[in-house]
């Protein structure tokens, strides 16, 4: 027996159950969507497509966004990045690294008093600009910072 085929059949069965649940009104479609990972956005090969995928096309440059990241990262596998947004009503912050195979790194939705601040560590394949894209009041804003990645970890 082919195990892949079994998995496939199980998968279709599960998807069918969700469809039935929606039809029966057990699950609101919005709830299902909220739980869905935006595959197209994460698999896009360029920044413009990735932004379209998260609903933030054509963001305006903003000086109210600060990106704190090293000028030179000796290890591209761990690049600390902090994003500060002083834009009032910041509802989401996305992080992109434009030379990565898939530029979109992460998208954070903030609610119930969470400030416009995110700190994390990302991977970068090569020297690139790190972009922060902030959504506030239905508009999107962006800022970027170049991070040089030295392969081999010997420093500048």
């Amino acid at each position: 027996m082919n195990p892949m085929r079994r998995t496939f059949l199980k998968g279709t069965g599960a998807a069918g159950t969700v469809a039935v649940a929606i039809a029966a009104g057990l699950l609101k479609p919005s709830q299902v969507l909220a739980a869905e990972w935006p595959k197209a956005a994460f698999e896009s090969k360029n920044v413009a497509d990735a932004l379209k995928g998260i609903g933030a096309s054509g963001p305006a440059d903003s000086k109210d966004i600060t990106i704190k990241a090293p000028d030179i990262a000796e290890n591209g596998a761990v690049v600390p990045v902090e994003i500060f947004s002083k834009i009032p009503g910041t509802t989401s912050i996305a992080i992109l690294a434009d030379k990565n195979a898939n530029p979109l790194v992460a998208d954070f939705d903030l609610s119930n008093g969470t400030e416009g601040y995110i700190s994390t560590r990302i991977k970068m394949g090569q020297t690139a600009h790190v972009h922060a894209v902030v959504k506030a009041g239905g508009k999107s804003y962006t800022a970027s910072k170049e991070v040089k990645v030295t392969i081999g970890g010997c420093g500048g």
């Binding site: 909220a34 739980a35 990972w37 935006p38 994460f42 596998a77 761990v78 690049v79 600390p80 902090e82 690294a97 990565n100 195979a101 898939n102 979109l104 790194v105 992460a106 998208d107 954070f108 939705d109 903030l110 609610s111 119930n112 008093g113 969470t114 400030e115 601040y117 995110i118 700190s119 994390t120 560590r121 990302i122 991977k123 970068m124």
Partner: protein, 104 residues
């Protein structure tokens, strides 16, 4: 699979500073196994949800480019010392983990 995760939450003025360390391989699906030459399948955290005192404060979607053993820091205004912080994640293979802490 899921090893413990660490949360530290402290008040700074009227804002809670929450930091979280998770244990995860965060495999990109682009690396090759040195012995077999086969691509190592992607295995990474896709969803992270954080609540403070039962209210959702952060929902994140992650790609493969978050570093291994992810770190996440954020700040919540209006939280109080003693509030419970809960952080959960789920990866692309359906593995889940969660942890709780109290804001100090």
């Amino acid at each position: 699979m899921a090893e413990p995760m660490k949360i530290r939450a402290t008040m700074a003025g009227d804002t809670a500073d929450i930091k979280c360390l998770m244990n995860h391989v965060m495999e990109t699906g682009q690396r090759k196994d040195a012995k077999t030459g086969q691509l190592i399948p992607a295995h990474f955290i896709q969803h992270v949800t954080a609540t403070v005192a039962g209210k959702t404060v952060l929902e994140a979607q992650w790609g493969v480019a978050i570093a291994k053993n992810p770190f996440l820091g954020f700040r919540v205004k209006g939280a109080k010392a003693g509030d419970k912080v809960e952080i959960k994640w789920e990866d692309n293979k359906g593995d889940k983990n969660s942890a709780e802490a109290v804001i100090a």
